[in-house]
């Protein structure tokens, strides 16, 4: 994702400094500002339900960004995402329960756990490709989940581990509004890290590996190193997301980290649009809000009381159906739709962009 030139806007990069700017045009600056103001103002006007939804979106987008870096950018298929989230959540939970470790120890600790697990998950990628890699990460997911379940039963927390709200500088993070800002900041940091990774050496190396491994190696890219790096960074981010999830929910149970969660994260990057960070965010929004959307639609239907029992099943089926629709009809995901719409307006009154132009 080299930054597309803001085509047709009359904006040109005239110095090297321009190349490194995150936000290029005055209009983009204004839009970013408006968005930031909206995000800050949101929890003060919206009801607690919507604040909770937004917080869930932030949490999901951290995991989705991490998976996007690994699968969408570096091209390493992973079906072990729930296992990594579980690892982070359990690291935080276990450290808290066993040693009463504070927030600023458990979070880095879960990042370290994630990084180590990333190496474990990533080692097969040095030998395996595509399908076989996906299968090996899937197998590791079951191992991690087993270990978590084993801890729960051995220590007698068979229903789950309770985690108290974290205390930072003597200040307890408890109210939904505070959580909203904490997780918004976390998601923002994750996004910044991802963007900067993408424009640095490692991001370019990952994209080269994704396109063609042989060519990438011939170009002098250290395959083993960058593959493992992708796994380590992605897993560390995912684990931190898992730990934050544990604190936010105040409760860790292995049941929450089923294979279905992995599929949801994979669906985020598919529905959002492969290989694009914006796609990860859009996908996170879509997949997080989707069940509530279905629930809302179903309660609007006549005979809502009779349907109430089957909301869960409808949700499941609809989710599978939407995922299939995107895979078959819109492999570019939401980003693809967004690009088409944007190009339509950018090019208007013309229909086709010039050959050879960038996106």
């Amino acid at each position: 994702m080299s930054k597309p030139l803001p085509s047709a806007s009359g904006h040109f990069r005239r110095s090297y400094a321009d190349e490194f700017r995150l936000i290029e045009t005055r209009f983009a600056k204004a839009m970013t500002l408006v968005f930031a103001v909206f995000l800050i103002g949101f929890p003060f006007v919206a009801s607690p339900f919507y604040v909770d939804l937004a917080t869930q979106v932030f949490l999901a987008s951290i995991g989705a960004l991490a998976l996007m870096l690994l699968t969408g950018i570096a091209g390493q298929i992973s079906l072990g995402h729930a296992g990594l989230l579980a690892a982070g959540a359990f690291t935080a939970g276990i450290l808290y329960k066993e040693t009463a470790a504070p927030f600023w120890i458990t979070i880095p600790a879960s990042a370290v756990t994630g990084a180590v697990l990333g190496i474990v998950f990533g080692l097969p990628s040095l030998r395996l490709r595509g399908l076989y890699l996906a299968v090996s990460t899937l197998a590791l997911h079951f191992v991690v989940v087993y270990l978590g379940g084993e801890y729960e039963t051995r220590r007698g927390y068979s229903t789950g581990i309770l985690v108290d709200p974290p205390v930072v500088f003597g200040f307890e993070i408890y109210s939904p509004r505070i959580w909203y800002f904490v997780l918004a900041a976390a998601a923002g940091i994750a996004l910044l890290v991802s963007i900067n990774l993408m424009r640095s050496r490692s991001g370019r190396a990952w994209r080269a590996i994704h396109s063609n491994e042989t060519v990438a190696e011939a170009l002098g890219i250290d395959m083993a190193r960058y593959k493992l790096l992708a796994f380590v960074i992605s897993s560390a981010m995912t684990s931190v997301a898992g730990a934050l999830f544990a604190y936010y929910r105040g409760f860790v149970s292995i049941e929450a980290f089923s294979l279905y969660l992995t599929i949801q994260y994979v669906a985020m990057i598919i529905i959002g649009g492969m290989g694009n960070l914006l796609g990860a965010l859009l996908g996170a929004v879509f997949v997080t809000l989707f069940p509530y959307l279905i629930e809302g639609l179903m309660s609007a239907l006549p005979g809502a009381d009779r349907l109430a029992g089957s909301v869960f099943a409808v949700n499941y089926a609809a989710f599978g159906f939407v995922m299939i629709l995107f895979l078959v009809f819109e492999p570019q995901g939401l980003v693809g739709i967004w690009r088409r719409v944007r190009n339509y307006f950018l090019l208007w009154p013309f229909k086709h962009k010039a050959l050879g132009g960038s996106s």
Binding site: A134, V135, A139, V143, A267, A313, Y316, A317, I324
Partner: protein
């Protein structure tokens, strides 16, 4: 003795399911992660036909099996056909999404409660005492018989059957096969149909033996390591792999920790992927093709 019988029954279950993974992978290089759900759907079809054909239980079983054959073919014709030429990831994820869709629909139609098709058909499940004081239920024994018949039938079909030879040709080189006049779509649809059919037989027999609910998909997923350990494109491999996985699982339950039962197949899978990723009987070059 009981120990050996347990291994044999579990191996038969895994082998019967694993041949579905192998059939589809061998012919079309797609890993069907919805196999567990398709197999469960077969079992639920039996629940549906059991209430419709209350008079003749055997007809119900036959009808459900034929229906699952059709379902498998339709999955290919309406869904997977569109995924030809897409990346491996896209095809695999489509099957994952299909699995979720099927699971949701099943709960929607039949609720999440446990079903007992055997009681609905009015059959009972006597215990057979084997020499050596080992016990086996009738349907577990039938599972072993079914596995033998299915594998024997598949072997003959792929070796001598007209369509079987076409299937092998399509798996070996789709381009040449197509130029030779083989209808690839028909062959792929047949592979999906057969795979769902064998899966449904496994699902029905398991459901007849011990009831039916959505945990059956886990059995389907655990049979996947069996297919991969043996080699994803080898039927003989699937048999051996099923024996290995079943042996490991039953052994661990007996001697170490029953809680490990759900992970053992995957641990064996990881070990296999590290040592010999293409499986015991698989083709080595397969690995670079994916």
């Amino acid at each position: 003795m009981q120990f050996v019988v347990n291994i044999m029954v579990l191996a038969a279950i895994y082998a019967l399911i694993a041949c579905g993974y192998v059939l589809i992978y061998r012919v079309s290089r797609v890993l069907n992660l919805a196999h567990g759900e398709l197999m469960m759907l077969g079992a639920y079809l039996l629940v549906a036909t059991a209430s419709a054909f209350a008079a003749s239980p055997l007809m119900a079983v036959v009808f459900a099996a034929v229906m699952s054959l059709a379902v498998g073919g339709m999955v290919y014709l309406f869904l997977m056909r569109r995924m030809t030429g897409e990346t491996v990831l896209a095809a695999v994820l489509t099957t994952v999404a299909l699995g979720i869709l099927i699971r949701g629909l099943i709960v929607l139609f039949w609720s999440a409660q446990q079903q007992h098709p055997r009681a609905m058909l009015g059959w009972d499940n006597p215990v057979i005492v084997l020499p050596g004081d080992a016990r086996i239920s009738l349907y577990s024994a039938l599972l072993i018989v079914a596995t033998v018949i299915v594998y024997g039938g598949l072997f003959l079909f792929l070796r001598f059957g007209r369509w079987g030879i076409r299937m092998r040709a399509a798996g070996q080189n789709p381009l040449l096969a197509a130029q030779r006049g083989i209808n690839l779509h028909a062959v792929f649809a047949l592979a999906w149909g057969l795979s769902t059919f064998t899966g449904a037989i496994a699902g029905m027999l398991i459901a007849l033996d011990s009831g039916l609910d959505s945990t059956m998909t886990m059995i389907g997923l655990k049979a996947f390591p069996a297919a991969l350990v043996g080699g994803l494109d080898s039927l003989v491999g699937a048999l051996i792999g099923a024996l290995i996985i079943a042996g490991a699982e039953v052994g661990v339950i007996r001697f170490i920790d029953p809680l490990l039962a759900d992970v053992v197949p995957f641990i064996v899978l990881i070990v296999m992927l590290v040592i010999r990723p293409w499986g015991l009987f698989g083709t080595r070059e397969e690995l670079d093709r994916v």
